[in-house]
């Protein structure tokens, strides 16, 4: 019972966000709260790699792109075939939303597989090659995605296009436009809640401790029987899974366009900054930092030019003054108790 209760709580929280919070705060803040949810999902998942295992991945946006485009293809072209609707139409009722949920999940799984393929060669090695490989991966994804064909807009054209054409018709550098707006507060906060719960349970478990030991001292970790490469790959795949799901949510959100330029390394860096500021290894810290760093720029739009300068300066200063981030690897309630 104790084990199931948190899952129920996550579900309840997501439903509450959808039916009680959304209508009260209005469209503008609903959009911001969805943005916050996606940012938290990205930061909490990246923290599994960067914070728990101490490996340095800076290609999170690349996995987001893999998941987002996969899910987009499934809802846009797959949805059209499945529900016999014009491409991009929202399928009515619960069926459409279930198809969306499945699509995001598939996107996440594809991203996780990509994560294993990309991560394995560099995770075998000690050192910081992972940073370069993930960054390179993100950029390759971006370049490849700009080379895709135009989105097929009409039902007639779609009828004659084979699926092999459909999967590469994702809009090139203009972005995958016309995706149905399935993303809402419920789905956003359901996935985000799941990610937080998974990350926290992981941290407070033997697998999580094995991950932390890799971060602390990889040689000693191996000498204590931990298969360090396996542990790193598991962490990396889990992070990629949630990044892919975040990509699916992002793709189907109102007011955003899934385009390659949006998912470049600038995006990856923003997620890194959230993790570092929140505290490497702190689940709640990453979530808190993601929330603040999403809402504050929204409120200070006129200073957007200086936003990245402030972020960058913060990053350097935090490393010099408080190298483990604001919370370190403690959770919010630990910090509370101490003060």
């Amino acid at each position: 019972m104790r084990a199931i209760l948190p899952w129920v709580a996550v579900l309840g929280f997501a439903m509450l966000a959808q039916v009680a919070v959304g209508p009260v705060v209005g469209h503008y803040w609903t959009k911001i709260l969805m943005d916050v949810g996606i940012a938290v999902l990205l930061a909490v998942s990246l923290n599994i790699v960067n914070g728990f295992t101490g490996q340095f991945s800076i290609g999170h946006a690349g996995f987001m792109a893999v998941g987002g485009y996969t899910a987009g293809i499934l809802t846009y072209y797959g949805g059209a075939a499945l529900f016999d609707l014009p491409p991009g139409a929202v399928a009515p009722g619960i069926a459409g939303h279930l198809w969306f949920a499945l699509s995001t999940l598939v996107g996440g799984v594809v991203a996780a597989v990509a994560g294993v393929v990309v991560g394995l060669p560099s995770l075998r090695l000690r050192g910081d090659y992972l940073a370069i490989v993930t960054l390179g991966f993100g950029e390759i994804m971006r370049v490849l995605l700009t080379r895709t064909e135009d989105v097929i807009g009409s039902a007639e054209e779609l009828a004659t296009a084979p699926w092999t054409t459909q999967v590469v018709s994702t809009g090139g550098s203009l972005g995958f436009t016309g995706l149905p707006f399935y993303t809402n507060l419920f789905w956003t906060w359901l996935w985000t809640g799941i990610a937080i719960l998974v990350a926290y349970r992981l941290k407070e478990s033997s697998t999580g401790r094995a991950m932390l030991s890799v971060r602390e001292d990889e040689v000693a970790s191996g000498a204590m029987g931990v298969r360090t490469t396996d542990v790193k790959v598991i962490a990396f795949a889990m992070a990629a899974l949630f990044a892919g799901i975040a990509g699916g949510l992002f793709a189907h959100e109102i007011g955003t366009t899934l385009n390659p330029a949006e998912l470049g390394f600038q995006k990856s860096f923003e997620i890194v900054i959230m993790v570092v500021l929140g505290g490497m290894g702190s689940v709640t810290g990453a979530a808190l930092a993601a929330t603040i760093l999403t809402i504050v720029p929204e409120l200070l739009r006129e200073f957007s030019e200086y936003r990245m300068i402030v972020y960058a300066a913060l990053l350097v200063v935090v490393m010099l003054v408080r190298p483990t981030g604001l919370l370190g690897h403690r959770e919010i309630w630990h910090a509370w108790r101490r003060s």
């Binding site: 104790r2 084990a3 998974v198 349970r201 992981l202 478990s205 033997s206 697998t207 401790r209 094995a210 932390l212 030991s213 602390e216 001292d217 040689v219 000693a220 970790s221 191996g222 000498a223 204590m224 029987g225 931990v226 298969r227 360090t228 598991i234 483990t324 370190g328 690897h329």
Partner: protein
């Protein structure tokens, strides 16, 4: 009877330097053997060879019946060969208890899905492991200190924690790399009885590197002396002490003196 740990003809070169050549050892089950030698004799390199951190150029290493050559350090550790480090390598940001619990991971039966769902089986194993980890802390004299971060422990206690962590692997053979380094005479005395107790209580076979001659001569029933990567003498404490090659290695040759 098959020795607990067996090595024959083990050699490794780094560049032009023969760091260890033709090393031989047969550590019997329940044995408490010592490995001594001047600085740079190749003692720690040998531990790294035995535990799979380095792969020997030649030679044979067996843990019981199991051939260890080519196995990953983690696999060797999980199969029953645990070690401590000369230059303490604890997980500094983790608590003492979590340091010990990391070493239990290799023996876990419940997997990732059970971990995330927190199944009853997972919970039982977690609780059993926690109790066992606390028992290991008690065994080395760190009872009630589990919540402290490893880096905040005093030096001598960090050495003890390294031993507790190694024990949590439930090894057959334990390699101790200078466990008394940096300890005061009081702590060394405690360590002496701890090593003996551990061997007797947990059916361990122990190989000990130590600079403190008093400790080695006192606890070890058999001593191997290494110099420039080669075994120059072996035998009981009394035999080794009077061996001319050993005297020369430690004091320098008569001509040089």
């Amino acid at each position: 009877m098959t020795p607990a740990l067996f090595a024959r003809g083990v050699s490794i070169r780094f560049g032009g330097l023969a760091a260890v050549s033709n090393f031989e050892l047969a550590l019997p089950v329940g044995g408490l053997y010592g490995l001594i030698g001047p600085n740079g004799a190749g003692k720690t390199t040998l531990f790294n060879l035995l535990t799979g951190v380095y792969r020997p150029d030649q030679g044979e290493i067996r843990l019981g019946e199991r051939d260890l050559i080519g196995s990953a350090p983690s696999a060797i550790a999980a199969s029953g060969l645990a070690r401590t480090f000369q230059n303490i390598r604890l997980f500094h940001q983790l608590s003492a208890l979590d340091n010990v619990r990391v070493a239990q991971f290799a023996h876990r039966r419940t997997g990732l899905v059970a971990t995330l769902l927190r199944t009853p089986a997972w919970r039982r194993e977690e609780e059993a492991d926690r109790a066992a980890a606390e028992a290991w802390l008690t065994a080395v004299g760190l009872e009630g200190r589990g919540a402290e971060l490893a880096r905040n422990l005093p030096y001598g206690d960090q050495r003890r924690l390294e031993i507790a962590r190694a024990l949590a692997l439930r090894p057959k053979v334990l390699l101790l790399d200078e466990p008394a380094a940096g300890m005061n005479p009081q702590e060394k005395l405690g360590l002496r009885s701890l090593i003996r107790t551990l061997r007797d209580t947990y059916d361990l076979s122990i190989l000990l590197i130590e600079h403190d001659m008093g400790l080695v001569m006192d606890v070890c029933e058999h001593i191997t002396v290494l110099d420039h990567g080669e075994v120059i003498a072996r035998g009981t404490a009394a035999e080794v002490q009077v061996d001319p090659a050993v005297v020369e290695a430690y004091l320098g040759s008569p001509e040089a003196a």
